[in-house]
């Protein structure tokens, strides 16, 4: 190739590159407008439109939980340039140091994305800010949702909201820093239904005309979808009544509609007002509740296993009947208790011998020692251990020793020991006499109040239960989740319930262990229980359902240090049943019993003050409720 023609090659190469570059420029700058929009978006702010969180109403449609709007001041740190800092700080009522600090913190997190500069703007600041915000293109106000509660109890049931942690932010892309989500109770377990879908709006900021315009004709905007409303199975009236009854006592009440498994009330005491865990004071009040030695945050109904005491005799009788080691006519003697060698299980004085029905009415301890030993020493099994294993399977079929899978977070499975446990304690060949206390529901067994009411439910239904649940319908379509339509069957033949129920029906009538707690006109089937408490007075326990035929309510009550079952738990349970079944909710036939319950104090005077809701908590300006 001639040398001068090589120069031509250079020129050709230059031309080709020029063509490539200019074509590329044409594509980037003229053809592909997405780059242009992305750049324009920088001169705009993407505002998240938070959806209305689903509301919660009780089983009769009374509003329990709704929304209020809160306003956060947001800023994109990178865009903060040449602003009248002093004026903004004056409006925000913070000094410039504090302001700089907040901006610094925000830019540390992410300089390109909006962060919260001022959380939950007080209303006066909010309205002043609205006037000047357009002069600060890096800043904008985002409207968020906070919760308000129409009840000052039921906190464990409803749950509370909390700020999303940094760890969760990384896992769940739905949330942004500063967002709140349900962290306990229904707010947590139904978060996915309640939260809805966020929308967004991109607004162009025009510093000079003091206007915020929609960007690209709203092409990139999206509307939020409101969260789904929930219909709780709770009876607000019953819930509040229960909370009054439990005042100045420790313990809990759980009531269930046996035919459906719908939870009618979950009362925990001590309780707290859910309205203290909202807004600005959430964190402060939460620490106060956490430090309170009475543990008001502790959900006893679901998490505290108590020995069921004599209420457990109903289960023992049913298992005995099913195993064929007991008939309704079986009689056992009782002379002040059960004696065998050095072993004695005491009993109160009563007629002897008793049959099954009367053993429940009188709550005879000796009777159930005989029953339980006949279950464990049943020659049909190779060993006591095998018989015990079978026995635990019976318990599991009642929902004892396993989680009930209720639609609330953090549930305890209670306590049912494995055979290995007794092998460790009593040696490999342990005998039925080693575990004799289990016959009367003491010792190595624990039921949560929820599991206790589940036992009552199984008996009320004569053999089955539905998984307890607190939400009876979701959304406009009023959907009931599939898992609550499944019947769980106890391993007891339907024929065996009659005698046990007959015994339970005698408990609240004269001659029964809770003979003075009955309600006129209602046949309450019940069983008293007393859990031995190594730390102090016995726990008063009561399970019941009513009416006897076609039961409408099953209930379990535990009153810590309340003594015998008939002393506190019984009256409270029966008052609750009366209230639920009555058409007129204002009267009671047992005014005497009600007053005694309301006026009793098992706690003593406390030096700890429960946190009070923020007094500045204004009535919602704009109640953001989803469609009713």
């Amino acid at each position: 190739m001639e040398k001068s023609s090589k120069l031509l090659v250079f020129f050709i190469v230059l031309t080709v590159i020029g063509v490539i570059f200019i074509t590329r420029l044409f594509f980037l700058q003229i053809v592909d407008t997405s780059n242009y929009y992305k750049a324009l978006a920088y001169g705009s702010n993407e505002i998240t439109i938070y959806p209305a969180r689903g509301t919660i109403v009780d089983r009769y449609g009374k509003l329990l939980v709704y929304n209020d709007a809160v306003y956060d001041l947001m800023a994109v740190p990178q865009k903060i340039k040449n602003i009248d800092k002093l004026r903004l700080c004056n409006v925000l009522q913070i000094d410039t140091n504090e302001f700089n600090q907040r901006i610094k913190k925000a830019s540390k997190y992410n300089t390109r994305e909006a962060s919260i500069i001022y959380k939950s703007l007080p209303f006066n600041i909010y309205s002043q800010l609205q006037e000047i915000i357009y002069e600060y293109p890096a800043f904008f106000i985002e409207t968020k949702i906070d919760r308000r509660y129409n009840i000052n109890g039921a906190a464990h049931l409803l749950g509370y909201m909390g700020e999303v942690s940094e760890k969760q932010l990384q896992v769940e892309k739905y949330y942004k820093p500063g967002d709140i989500k349900g962290v306990s109770g229904m707010e947590k377990s139904y978060e996915l239904y309640l939260r809805g879908i966020k929308g967004k709006k991109i607004v162009l900021v025009d510093k000079f005309s003091k206007q915020q315009g929609s960007f690209a004709g709203g092409k990139f905007d999206s509307l939020p979808t409101a969260g789904q409303n929930l219909i709780a199975s709770i009876d607000l009236n019953l819930q509040e009544y229960g909370e009054q009854l439990m005042k100045n006592k420790f313990g809990s009440i759980v009531a269930i509609e046996p035919a459906t498994g719908e939870v009618l009330a979950i009362v925990n005491s001590p309780n707290y007002d859910p309205n203290v865990l909202v807004g600005q004071s959430r964190n402060r009040n939460f620490s106060a509740l956490l430090l309170d030695p009475r543990k008001p945050l502790f959900n006893r109904a679901l998490k505290a296993p108590y020995p069921p005491g004599s209420t457990f005799k109903t289960v023992q009788a049913l298992i005995g009947l099913q195993e064929g080691v007991l008939t309704p006519d079986t009689k056992y003697p009782c002379h002040g208790g059960y004696h065998m060698g050095s072993l004695t299980v005491g009993c109160h004085p009563h007629a002897s011998p008793l049959d099954l029905e009367h053993s429940i009415q009188q709550s005879c301890n000796a009777y159930y020692c005989f029953v339980y030993r006949s279950i464990l020493d049943n020659p049909a099994y190779n060993s006591v251990q095998d018989a015990y294993l079978k026995w635990t399977q019976y318990l599991n079929s009642f929902g004892i020793g396993i989680k009930t899978e209720i639609d609330l977070p953090e549930e305890s499975p209670g306590i049912v020991k494995k055979t290995q446990y007794f092998e460790r304690v009593f040696g490999k060949n342990w005998r039925s006499s080693n575990v004799i206390s289990l016959s009367i529901g003491q010792g190595e067994i624990g039921l949560t109040p929820l599991q206790m009411v589940n036992v009552a439910t199984v008996i009320a239904n004569r053999g089955y239960y539905y998984t307890p649940h607190v939400v009876k319908a979701i959304g406009d379509e009023k959907i009931l989740l599939e898992q609550y339509k499944i019947k769980h069957k106890a391993m007891i033949n339907i024929a065996y319930y009659d005698s046990v129920i007959a015994g339970m029906a005698r408990v609240c009538k004269p001659g029964g262990t809770a003979g003075r707690t009955g309600i006129e006109g209602i046949t309450i089937c019940a069983k008293t229980g007393t859990a031995q408490n190594p730390h102090g007075a016995h726990h008063s326990i009561f399970i019941a359902f009513a009416p006897r035929d076609n039961p409408k309510i099953a209930i379990a009550v535990v009153v810590e240090n309340g003594g015998y079952g008939a002393e506190y738990a019984g009256p409270i349970a029966n008052l609750m049943i009366e209230r639920y079944l009555a058409t007129d909710k204002t009267i009671t036939s047992r005014k005497d019993m009600l007053d005694r319950m309301l006026n009793s104090n098992l706690v003593g005077s406390s030096v700890y003050d429960a946190p009070k809701p923020d007094s500045t908590l204004r009535k919602p300006l704009l109640p953001l409720t989803a469609k009713p």
Binding site: L7, G18, F21, I30, N35
Partner: protein, 449 residues
């Protein structure tokens, strides 16, 4: 023979000087735009880089003046000397780098960082021109070719040893000069082909790549089989390509350390965190072990620069936002915008019309330099002119190509535009040395013959 100095000044190629002044001023404007903030707007604010750039421009004017008054014979005379000095400087840097356990590419003089690799291009140009300009030396014969390669590869290797991949790659531009001096163009084509294969091998499954080449070779053979030896040619191309691909794959996947792999990946604009899992799953002869990934592997998205660069340029549309008005530019969204990504500012603030004009002017400028190089009457000046044009051309091609997202991210400055004293000095020295030689070409005639 050099007594008529006023006459020479008249012969300076003023067109080139004017374009040079335009580009440098335009560069300063863009640096100001990309670098000035609300708090810093004063043009000569020396605490800001745009302010320093004005200082560098002033210093450059002095350097240019000095070059213009020097006897042009000086450049020929001192060609090897300057080359040796720069090589020694690079060696010293390398030495201190070894001692300090960290590669360093500059000498610190006060607050100014002198980057010898920038001057290495100048020195190499002079040395190469001097060698090929020697009486009776041509780019032919094993010995001469070896010397030329040595002159180019020595500073290239030293720069590479300082981890300055971008600056090292620039030395490739000297092969364009060798092409002008008789090096077969096929070598350049083969070189370009192998470089492309190298990049593709790292980005795509090697076995698929080989399959694609097989199909291309077979197709070429099918349509051109009437030519003699077509079978052999296509077979050779196919097998050598396959061997090349497999060895690159093997070396990359099995021999290189994770940090070395990552350096290549970053240059190729790859997201390291995403690359390894993808590569480990790929149908490939030499599998990358995803677990071998460096623990310190940054999760940073390396494509961020290019993405932002494209957005900036795209934001310009037809006419751009105007001087100092680019939203992306002012927000400093593109990292290194005042240095390696200065072209983004041009794109955003002057739009398609401005950028196209800029590209055309710049290409005309380079073309003019090639034209001027070709018109030289002695070998030294011609070789040197080609060196100057080729180095500037390579920089322009790689830099703008990178900003446009058509080439990998190789951090080298855009001559006369990017912020930086060393690069402005060295490019201006290179250019004006050539202008001086060009101005003197009439007087040089006698010395050649």
């Amino acid at each position: 023979m050099n007594y008529n100095r006023p006459e020479e000044t008249i012969r300076i190629d003023w067109l080139t000087v004017i374009i040079y002044i335009l580009i440098v001023s335009f560069g300063a404007m863009n640096i100001y735009s990309a670098n000035s903030t609300i708090d810093h707007t004063f043009v000569f604010d020396l605490s800001m880089e745009y302010g320093k750039q004005f200082l560098w421009i002033g210093v450059t004017a002095i350097i240019v003046f000095l070059i213009l008054i020097v006897d042009p014979k000086f450049f020929n005379f001192s060609g090897y000397g300057i080359y040796v000095i720069v090589i020694v400087m690079l060696l010293v840097l390398l030495g201190t780098g070894v001692i300090n356990k960290g590669a360093q590419a500059w000498f610190k003089i006060g607050s100014f960082k002198l980057q010898p690799s920038e001057f290495a291009k100048y020195a190499t140009s002079l040395a190469l021109a001097k060698f090929l300009g020697t009486f009776d030396v041509k780019f032919a014969g094993k010995k001469n070719i070896a010397i030329c390669f040595g002159i180019i590869l020595l500073p290239m290797a030293l720069t590479l040893a300082q981890n300055d991949t971008g600056s090292a790659l620039v030395f490739v531009s000297f092969f364009l000069v060798l092409y002008r001096e008789g090096f077969s163009g096929w070598y350049l084509v083969i070189g370009l082909y192998l470089a492309t294969l190298f990049v593709f091998t790292i980005l795509f499954p090697s076995l698929y790549l080989i399959l694609v080449i097989l199909i291309i070779c077979a197709t070429v053979f099918y349509f051109f089989k009437k030519y003699n030896q077509m079978l052999w040619l296509t077979l050779i191309v196919f097998f050598s390509s396959a061997i090349f691909i497999l060895s690159v794959d093997f070396i990359f996947a099995k021999l290189l350390q994770p940090h070395q792999q990552q350096r290549i990946l970053v240059t190729l604009n790859q997201d390291v965190a995403e690359y390894y899992p993808r590569k480990a799953k790929e149908f490939s002869l030499f599998k990358i072990d995803a677990n071998r990934k460096d623990k310190k592997a940054s999760k940073r998205d390396y494509s961020y620069n290019v993405r932002q660069s494209k957005i900036s340029i795209g934001a310009g549309q037809w006419f751009g936002n105007g001087f100092n008005n680019g939203t992306q530019t002012k927000a400093q969204l593109v990292p290194e915008q005042h240095t390696d990504f200065i072209f983004c500012t041009v794109g955003e603030e002057y739009g398609f019309v401005g950028s196209t004009t800029f590209v055309l002017v710049y290409l005309f400028f380079i073309g003019r330099l090639y034209y001027m190089a070709e018109r030289q009457k002695n070998d030294f000046a011609r070789v040197y002119g080609y060196c100057t044009a080729s180095v500037i051309f390579f920089h322009f091609f790689v830099n703008v190509g990178m900003a446009l997202g058509v080439l990998p991210v190789i951090g080298i400055p855009l001559p006369f535009m990017s912020y930086g004293g060393s690069s402005l000095f060295s490019f201006s020295m290179m250019l004006f040395t050539f202008l001086k030689l060009d101005a003197n070409r009439v007087n040089e005639v006698s010395s050649v013959y």
